[in-house]
């Protein structure tokens, strides 16, 4: 298999990598860039643990070939906090105890960021539907709902 050039920005930093065409974005983020906030949960785009933002859209990085991210701006959970300050969504998840084992949490947080960009004041039904592609096996959904609601009202 011939390797391909991948030029993209991750969390504001430019990267030039040579990757095999069958490598997923998730593998490249974790193995090449050491960004382990995105995690494999199911490898088929069902659980959302590998969610990252590509040009602002929440996607399953286990389903995207890395080379398809060429020229994109990728944001992972590591890119949310600035100067040691947590992103308001991260802070809301702490304030509302919106996690247990937290394996799914970075994915939920990134989906929440995308949700709030699309619907700055989502109602409960919108939140439940938008985040139904992220699974939390510990079952912290009620507190996640509270955290997202808190973000939407404070951010407006």
């Amino acid at each position: 298999m011939n390797d391909d050039q991948l030029n993209f920005r991750v969390n504001g930093e430019t990267h030039r990598l040579v990757v095999a065409p069958n490598r997923t974005l998730l593998e490249v983020l974790r193995d090449e860039l050491g960004l382990v906030g995105a995690r494999e949960g199911c490898s088929i785009g069902m659980c959302g643990a590998c969610t990252v933002l590509v040009d602002g859209k929440a996607i399953s990085s286990c389903l995207l070939l890395a080379v398809q991210a060429d020229g994109s701006e990728v944001t992972t959970v590591e890119g949310l906090s600035r100067d040691g300050q947590l992103h308001p969504v991260q802070q809301a998840y702490i304030d509302h105890a919106a996690f247990q084992c937290a394996y799914c949490t970075p994915g939920f947080i990134l989906s929440t960021v995308a949700l709030l960009q699309e619907y700055p004041n989502p109602d409960e039904e919108t939140i439940r539907r938008y985040l139904s592609g992220n699974l939390c096996r510990c079952g912290s959904y009620e507190n996640i709902l509270r955290a997202v609601k808190a973000c939407s009202s404070t951010s407006n």
Partner: protein, 794 residues
Amino acid sequence: MEIGRPVPMLDGVARVTGTLPYAINLKLPGMLTVKVLRSLFPHATITKIDSRAAEQLDGVTAVLTQAGIEPHGKKPLIYGAFLKDQPVVAGEKVRYIGEPLALVAAESADIAEQAMQLIEVDYAEMPAVYDVKEAMNPGAPALHTAFPDNCFTHAKLRHGDLEAGFAAADLVLEETYTSPVAQQTSLEPHVTAAQWAEGKLTVWSATQAPSLVQRVLAELFGLDSEDVRVIVPPLGGGYGGKGHVRLEPMVAALAMKTKGRPVKLALSREEEFVTVTKHAARIRIKTGVRRDGSITARQVLIYWNGGAYADVSPALVRSSLVRALGPYRLPAAHVDAYGIYTNLPPAAAFRGAMSSQTTWAYESHMDSLAHKLGLDPLAFRLENMLREGDTFVTGEKLHDIHFVECLEAVAEGLGWEESPRATHTVAAPLDKGGEEAARATLSVAAPLERGGTESPPTPLEKGGAESPPTPLEKGGEEVRRGRGLAVMIKSMPATSKSQCRLELNDEGRVRLFTSTVEMGQGAHTALAQITADALGISTEGVTVVGPDTAITPFDSTTSASRSTTMMGRAIVSGAQDLKSRLIQAAVPLFECPPEELAAGDGAVFLRAEPEQRMNYSEILKRNQIQSLEAQGEASTQGGIDPETGQGVGSLHYHQGAGACEVAVDTQTGKVSVLRYYAASFAGRVVNPRLAQLQNDGNVIYGIGPALMEEVVFDAGQAVNPNLSDYQIPSFLDGPKELVSYALEAEGSEFHGIGEMTLPPVAPAIANAIFNATGVRILDLPITAEKVLKALQNE
């Protein structure tokens, strides 16, 4: 007071920034990637396994097959904490599809995959068996020669005169409930890394049982336990699936062949489904009741499908005796619990272990009984409920008993009294049926026997004396609503031990060394609070270290909701020890005998003049002591006789309840849980915020096996081993209204709450469906298809 404070989870920032060091993130210098070659047949002898070509492949460091395990040569290495029946990797024979046959350690996952393709395996297929009842039949294929009838354990509970109890009953009802194979589905899979150096083994593993893994590995490789070091990072979920020895033996055996290079295996989602499962269960339950609603006798036969290896099942099957009958006063009770081998992946604990299956049976059954008696399901339960000071079926006197409060809390929350219930409008069937009906049921009142044919439905079931319950919304609406409730009892391991070490430094900070595993339940936060409370310092002044068997002391396991109770007790005893040491160290400073001193609130003080005090840090500094250490321990020595079920089943019993309202779409069979109220008895709540998460989480988790989760097998092959075909609850599956209570009682002990609101979920939902439609579902999960079919058969 640090107990009762809603302290945020200690490592919350790491959890929201993605930096928590899960085992799956582990990278060690020179680490090799591991892949597993698995059996393609459910039951076969291996006539050839040739890995030479794989070993020659560039980038492959080692291939492990049974013949190549060092240093034991051709002798297969067999392990098992209760029954030594499981080979590290299969050699002569495979017993389920997915059983490990060979492991490859290579420079990359791609190379390891490629190498696996080069391993040649020839199988000679044998007949296989998957169903527990078929497995016990004479002539069924035997998985293990030592157990020709495939029954590896049969535990019994005998209490009172069963036949007399049934004879005294006005109504005897027998039903059979089933619960299928399910999968724990931690989002983080099983992960294990291992490395050998100078004859010593280090293992990093996502396990709930570091001390057990250490013991089993030491036995297996003939090492002293100090020469096996087990390190457990925080887990991305466990739910019982990581509660026992899993990948560690084969990964450690492979690492023997890599000349000191570390190896790491992380399972794929598909592999998870063939690594550990929830026991499928077939439960026959038979109860005698008087027309006033008092229970006279109960008998339960449980067939636990253990899969191909006993694993933790012998202990769990035994524990199922006290989890089988429900929290009711039973003048006579018998339980027979069988652990059966079949050609399926091994089964083990699944959050709410064994209680989820048994509660499904006895709480559905309680509603069937209430309906036949024309009694309100809540009133019928309360009438028979175990209370403080009662003697349990094991003969032990019960304490800290609050089933009534749990059930009343959820009933009140849901508004049970306000709901017009069907049973109020139905005449008691026994009044109509009279003597004849009663006699008719008595004719099938003989005790249940193992295997054999199950009794036909009792005449009353088909008698038509009762009309189906009236749904909350009357008439022929397409969507009908109904309410249901359920309650459960669960035991802790009767014999277990927790140890801890406390280290106070001269800054006044404390380090707690514990082998309790943090898997999202917030155990480390709760234990830090208990430490802080016992020493009179703030939780923020406590750091939790562990588990790492090189530095953290023994703990039986992080399972069965035992950690807050057992490790909590160990900490309290360790804090006591630390305080006496502090007092000793303060004696020369106060220039008075130790009896005149006391410790607390972060200081040692004069009993007579508490304002004369010196804080911990100052005592250490003045004595030029850098740190002061103390050990704590808590242990229980219980256990029940496996022939009679008599003895001590648990230090105390876990208690939980649930009540819900559901909507049933009669056109599609789809069930929606609209409102759910859950309660667990917590004794003393250490952290209300984390307690609520546990209680809520159990309800969400419980909705999975209740409504959707089943691993489907076709001739031993799991056909839905992925999260598209095996669905777990999402944001859209939970109730819109979810309220949970963690109940406390004055002077109570810490009670674990990791599971208590889970087992009631399925029967509460099924009872609500019955209330809505008159349809009784006997087999989990309650899929739309099953409900629709049942409605059509009405």
